[in-house]
């Protein structure tokens, strides 16, 4: 029996793309290939009769894989893959790889084939990641300290790359930082330049949270408005909870205190 070959990838877009590239050119047989993400907080269980290959992140190989997805399938499919790689699914690398095998076979129309299990999974992950990004476009709040607008969020997926461009456009005249406390990364936009993503160190984290929780004088006006705009005769906490789930409220100005 042919042993299953497991590609172990670092949990970054380039890392997994490198894994996809290596697995793709291996000609080992797709049914015998699995991709795994190396995650820092979980020791994966090694299985007998499997071959393990450690992937080292390689920007060039990742770019080659990306290029061929865009050219041979479509840029829409590439964007769907990026969404998958930004998700918190532990088996995301394997899903992305096997979806791509099918996508190279079918072509640009692949996303329509929701009755195919790999497509279905990619579709579901895209919906979840897309929805969460949209929630943060709605619900994240900035607080101003020394002319810098700070926001702290706790998303399940890596939403920073997906939401920062939205704010960089509409707030292009301002300096802001959106800090993702869960993944310790931040989208940073200086008033005078382009935005970028940076890893945040523990001591910086404390400082950002302190700046965010600092009252900048507008919070109380916002709360006044928030309370005044509700119609008492229509009070409906369960509808409010459906529309704005409790776990988003932790960092929302109007729900604090």
């Amino acid at each position: 029996m042919k042993p299953v070959r497991v590609y172990r990838c670092p949990d970054t877009i380039d890392g997994i793309m490198t894994g996809i590239y290596e697995a793709g050119i291996s000609r080992y047989g797709h049914d015998y290939i699995r991709l795994e993400v190396i995650s820092p907080d979980c020791v994966s269980e090694m299985q007998l009769f499997s071959e393990y290959i450690e992937i080292i992140e390689d920007a060039k190989k990742a770019a080659l894989a990306a290029d061929s997805i865009i050219k041979k399938i479509s840029s829409a499919v590439y964007i769907s893959i990026i969404h998958v790689l930004l998700s918190d699914k532990s088996d995301k690398a394997d899903i992305a790889y096997h979806f791509l095998v099918y996508a190279f076979h079918i072509g640009p129309g692949v996303m329509s084939a929701l009755q195919v299990p790999w497509v279905k999974q990619v579709f579901e992950i895209n919906r979840a990641v897309g929805n969460e990004s949209h929630f943060f476009r709605e619900f994240l709040r900035f607080s101003q300290t020394d002319g810098i607008y700070i926001s702290v969020i706790e998303p399940k997926n890596h939403v920073i790359p997906l939401i920062t461009p939205h704010f960089a456009d509409r707030l292009n005249t301002e300096s802001f930082i959106i800090y993702d406390k869960i993944h310790m990364e931040a989208g940073i936009h200086p008033a005078s330049g382009d935005w970028y993503i940076r890893h945040i160190l523990p001591e910086e984290s404390l400082q950002l949270e302190k700046m965010y929780n600092n009252d900048d004088g507008l919070a109380s006006l916002w709360k006044t408005f928030f309370d005044a705009i509700a119609i008492k005769e229509r009070a409906n906490p369960s509808l409010q909870r459906n529309m704005c789930p409790i776990h988003f409220r932790k960092h929302m100005t109007e729900f604090k205190d």
């Binding site: 005249t173 005044a228 119609i231």
Partner: protein, 480 residues
């Protein structure tokens, strides 16, 4: 009238948000615009809600009145002239700085500005325009602005407001002219319909001058166009409004053409209106017919419904013991969606004999149960508009079904993932000629019972593997 001269900003905000809250529209949708370099604010076509108030309604815009002073005496309105309540007014600077500071913190998507009528309609409209001009030109705000038209304001002012705003709206207030006369004696039907017509023609002209940027069409007109291509002889509803006098071909609806003003287009996010439900005794059928006529004749983006709350405890107005008619309002919104996206007409949903919606079933299920002869439809073959009429299938899921079945057969197990609400749809569909088991005895009573005791069918068949099929029997669908 108690006019407070030196109110602080917090008090003003409290009073003027409180008195603006009965306006329903808080949408920020209909126009996609990126920020200009160096100015603040963009808009998103789908609209962005920023919070949800204790009543569960979305907060998207800073919804305030310019002032709650008012010379009119509309019986339903908290701000009517005879009410003894504190009165305050914002200044344009205060509104601009509140909007900008809230916007920078991602509290809001933009401004919704309405007003009580101070001195005269024109005087009030001028103050509102002064505020919008300052916000756009001095504060360089590029976010969303929804501006109310004051009934009775001159057409020059209405036009100017349309150049600054993304969406314009003027409230129809009550579905019938008679109701308006009784409850809002100072407002005339013409003072509402004339500006509505003017804005419609303005948007149309802006669209011809600027293309899509000048404003896209409403969902209702897209739906009707699609259906008209299939059935060119579609009947239009009876005319409920006397058409205002501006001729549709009138060339010069829009006058001001300086580039800095026209770059955003004229009310590019379109026009909306709202009606109060349950204050003046109309039936659902009357309301839906008015709605349909508004969509057809005025190309509105949205019609909003507002369950009446007797805030003034006025004896002439109803005060139902079980609170405002929220369930009725909900049914009207559901039906409104059926008109705009699903291609239903008001007369299909209701009739003079059955003038009100069924409180226990949503309007689409109710319609389908009355038309069992059209069902079941085959998921793998039915066209888009037929799929749209199946309970449990929506605009998104119908689109996904159409695309997916080009790639291969679609079965019951695939439908859930596509967003179909199976517990409603199963009674009305086949997949590959087969019905969902247990859904076989099709008659109106049985399905009604199942739909009301929802979930019972699926609860017996929850795990996917337990789904079984039976060949459809020819006579199962003949109503007994």
């Amino acid at each position: 009238m108690v006019i407070i001269e030196n109110a602080n900003i917090d008090d003003k905000l409290k009073i003027l948000a409180d008195s603006a809250k009965y306006d329903v529209a808080c949408t920020s949708s209909g126009v996609e615009r990126k920020a200009e370099k160096g100015s603040m604010g963009s808009t998103s076509a789908c609209g962005i809600c920023h919070s949800f108030a204790a009543d569960g309604r979305c907060i998207s815009l800073l919804k305030i009145l310019y002032t709650n002073e008012c010379i009119y005496n509309c019986k339903y309105c908290i701000n009517r002239v005879t009410n003894d309540i504190p009165r305050v007014s914002f200044t344009p600077e205060e509104i601009c700085s509140l909007t900008m500071e809230f916007y920078k913190r991602n509290y809001i998507e933009g401004l919704f500005l309405s007003s009580g009528i101070l001195h005269t309609p024109d005087y009030t409209m001028e103050l509102m325009i002064q505020t919008l001009k300052m916000l756009r030109e001095d504060y360089h705000f590029g976010g969303y602005i929804h501006c109310k038209t004051i009934p009775g304001a001159s057409s020059e002012l209405v036009e100017l407001a349309g150049w600054y705003a993304d969406r314009m709206s003027i409230n129809l207030e009550l579905p019938t002219a008679d109701g308006l006369k009784r409850l809002a004696p100072n407002k005339s039907r013409n003072a509402i319909l004339n500006p509505m017509r003017q804005i419609q023609l303005g948007i149309d002209q802006s669209r011809r001058l600027l293309g899509m940027k000048g404003g896209n069409y409403s969902a209702y007109s897209y739906t009707r166009d699609r259906l008209a291509k299939k059935e060119p002889h579609l009947t239009s509803s009876k005319v409920l409004f006397d058409m205002p006098k501006i001729a549709p071909s009138s060339p010069a609806v829009l006058h001001r053409q300086s580039d800095s003003l026209t770059k955003r287009g004229f009310a590019p996010a379109g026009q909306s209106t709202q009606m109060i439900i349950g204050a003046s005794g109309e039936t659902d059928f009357e309301i839906m017919s008015v709605t349909e006529a508004l969509y057809q004749k005025f190309d509105l983006k949205r019609v909003f419904y507002s369950a009446f709350i007797n805030v003034n405890n006025d004896d002439e107005l109803p005060s139902p013991a079980d609170g405002p008619p929220l369930a009725r309002e909900h049914r009207l919104y559901q039906a409104d969606w059926l008109l705009r996206y699903y291609g239903f007409s008001a007369s299909e949903l209701l009739s003079d004999k059955r003038p009100n919606f069924n409180p226990f079933l949503d309007p689409k299920c109710d319609w389908a149960l009355g038309h069992l002869e059209d069902f079941p439809v085959e998921i793998n073959r039915a066209d888009y508009d037929t799929l749209l009429r199946v309970p449990g299938i929506g605009v998104k899921s119908a689109g996904r079904i159409i695309k997916a079945r080009r790639m291969g057969k679609v079965g019951f197990n695939d439908l859930k993932n596509m967003g179909v609400v199976l517990r409603r749809a199963v009674y009305f569909i086949t997949c590959g000629g087969k019905m969902f088991s247990n859904a076989l005895h099709i008659d109106e009573d049985f399905i009604t019972k199942q739909l009301i005791n929802k979930d019972t069918l699926l609860r017996n068949n929850t795990s996917e593997s337990s789904i079984t099929y039976k060949q459809m029997h020819l006579f199962d669908f003949i109503p007994q």
